[in-house]
């Protein structure tokens, strides 16, 4: 699986309140949430984003609330991958659970600028900056998480386990 698109670049501590402000959380309709993605940090984001585009940020991306609406609105808006130096832990879990690809890679976070065309190979974790001709190696997921991703997320994983006569 690959991602290819242009980059929206942000700094440290992009919190879930700016990704999807609480005033929009009276809905969990994915399309409606997507229409407000990044509203309080980049009001032009929803007008500019194209399917396949990537977000690249620095430290602690997705800090703050547990709202799964945050990765969901980005995925639905067309974001194919978020690359960051580090992710806040609840955002990290939520992204995996809903199938928004994320990669921790401090070098890529530093070496990629807004507007760069970037390609990501999720199998190898390789990040290729086509604009600058540079390549980075992202952190691979631990084996258990790869299993979750391969199953198509936590719901499918849970259901497949049930089918195997798991503990519930």
């Amino acid at each position: 699986m690959k991602a290819l698109g242009h980059v929206f670049k942000y700094g440290d501590n992009v919190d879930t309140d700016v990704i999807i402000p609480a005033r929009y959380l009276n809905s969990f309709d994915a399309q409606e949430l997507a229409s407000h993605a990044m509203a309080d940090i980049d009001p032009e984001f929803v007008n500019k984003v194209k399917p396949g585009d990537l977000i690249v940020a620095n430290k602690n991306f997705g800090c703050g609330s547990s709202r799964e609406h945050a990765p969901l609105c980005l995925k639905t808006a067309g974001v194919s991958c978020v690359i960051a130096e580090t992710f806040a832990r609840i955002f990290y879990r939520n992204a995996i659970n809903i199938g928004l690809p994320i990669i921790e890679c401090p070098e890529a976070a530093k070496g990629i600028e807004a507007g760069d065309e970037v390609e990501v190979d999720f199998d190898s974790g390789k990040i290729y900056n086509r604009t600058k001709g540079t390549e980075f190696q992202g952190q691979p997921f631990p084996e258990f998480m790869q299993k979750l991703i391969a199953a198509g997320g936590l719901v499918n994983y849970t259901n497949s386990k049930k089918g195997e006569g798991g503990c519930w």
């Binding site: 919190d15 309140d17 609330s65 849970t158």
Partner: protein, 424 residues
């Protein structure tokens, strides 16, 4: 190798003799909680996995964020979890009028106790670590899975140990201590980790102080915050709960990524400036600046809406008047606290001073309703986050503070030192 307190609880719930940091485990859950934002979204995901919750006594739903419902959509959302609770026969569904802010009502109603493994679809679920439980915030898919199966995967966290010594000053409480700590380590200083609070200084901290501190562990990026179970914690649980609790202690040889000593006697009233909870400034630094004029004060929330917070704010507001340019909202976090405020005469003090006393709700904390700010406005708030736009317009500013700093500022009209209220 020894285990931390958190690791011991996780090992026990995973059916393992021991675990190590970084290990991925599947652990059994004692409490699975969601609210009126995360709960409704979880229901269709839950239905993909199950018809019945794994245990009707362990799945808890609390409408508190947009309640009393602020609009039709939020009313529909609350209705969905109300009907689900009835359909499933849930023991713990907290309806408006008998409820409160989730992280205040769960300990108060005795739903959560020491030694448990708890998840909540709300980031401040880490609050229950004050009781000596492993408790952490998760998202909607995780909570739906927990509701269906009673289990969830976790990466076992490493830990940072905070050794508290000394005695805090008269106007220093849990809020000042935790903002001081986050200021020291940063908003990702404990990313993916446990924050374990220990030391002789613990005996100086009330349960309400500890709830406030554990509540804001997430603001340092932590997976959980946790306190040892001492006599105060046991007394609290005996008073509030009929559940059996289990006390876990960190091993002597437990490994910590870092050990940080905090002398509580050196912590000053501390305020987190916009736009990060780690942007800490002491009241002395603030007094050296030009006065920061404010428009609004909020006293309440899962961080600081408990009885002691009400008493501390009232002690300062008693026989005084809110500054004419400031709007003040006092929001007792539960109905019980609300009633106690009336019984102790605190409600009169607040109203006489010119404060609005609101019904329990998360309200303005996350810009939901009941106190949303306009462009350019500034608020001193006892809540937990001061992110851009958190309480309304993107150009409004939030200063996080203790109830005492908030009350002193309400009177002064600018961010003020509670130690000097008597001087004016």
């Amino acid at each position: 190798m020894g285990m931390t307190m958190t690791q011991k609880i996780l090992a026990a719930h995973a059916g393992l003799d021991s675990v190590v940091a970084g290990q991925l485990i599947e652990a059994k859950l004692d409490v699975v909680m969601a609210n009126d934002i995360t709960g409704p979204m979880a229901l269709p995901i839950f239905r993909e996995m199950a018809d019945k919750v794994y245990d009707k006594d362990k799945v808890v739903l609390v409408p508190d964020h947009f309640t009393p419902n602020k609009d039709i959509k939020s009313a529909e959302n609350s209705k969905s979890i109300r009907e689900f609770s009835k359909e499933q026969g849930l023991k713990w569904y907290f309806e408006q009028g008998k409820s409160g802010v989730e992280h205040a009502i769960l300990p108060e109603a005795g739903v959560v106790v020491a030694g448990e493994c708890i998840i909540g679809a709300d980031s401040h679920t880490c609050t229950y670590g004050a009781l000596g439980a492993f408790s952490t915030g998760v998202g909607t898919t995780d909570i739906a899975t927990g509701m269906a199966t009673g289990e969830l995967w976790f990466k076992v966290p490493s830990a940072m140990k905070f050794v508290l010594t000394g005695k805090p000053g008269a106007f220093v409480s849990g809020k000042d201590i935790i903002i001081h700590i986050i200021g020291k380590i940063g908003v990702d200083g404990a990313l993916y980790k446990s924050m374990e609070f220990t030391g002789d200084g613990l005996k100086e901290l009330s349960m309400d102080d500890r709830f406030t501190m554990a509540n804001m562990a997430i603001e340092a990026g932590a997976k959980n915050g946790i306190f040892p179970v001492d006599e105060k914690a046991e007394d609290y649980m005996k008073e509030h709960s009929v559940k059996e609790y289990k006390i876990y202690e960190a091993d002597e040889d437990a490994e910590y990524d870092e050990v940080i000593e905090i002398n509580l006697s050196e912590v000053r009233p501390t305020v987190a400036f916009p736009h990060l909870p780690g942007n800490a400034k002491t009241i002395d630094e603030i007094e050296a600046m030009e006065p920061i004029r404010i428009d609004q004060v909020v006293i309440g929330s899962c961080t600081n809406g408990r009885m002691e917070d009400m008493r501390k704010a009232a002690a300062i507001l008693k026989d005084r008047q809110v500054h004419p340019d400031v709007r003040v909202m006092v929001i007792p976090a539960t109905q019980k606290i609300y009633k106690q405020c009336m019984a102790e005469g605190l409600a009169d003090i607040f109203v006489d001073a010119g404060c609005a006393v609101n019904t329990p709700s998360c309200g303005p904390c996350m810009g939901g309703h009941m106190g949303v700010m306009a462009a350019g406005e500034k608020c001193v708030s006892t809540t937990n986050r001061n992110f851009v736009g958190r309480m309304g317009h993107v150009d409004s500013l939030i200063y996080l503070a203790s109830p005492e700093v908030a009350a002193a500022s309400a009177i002064a009209g600018y961010i003020a030192n509670p130690e000097k209220v008597g001087d004016r």
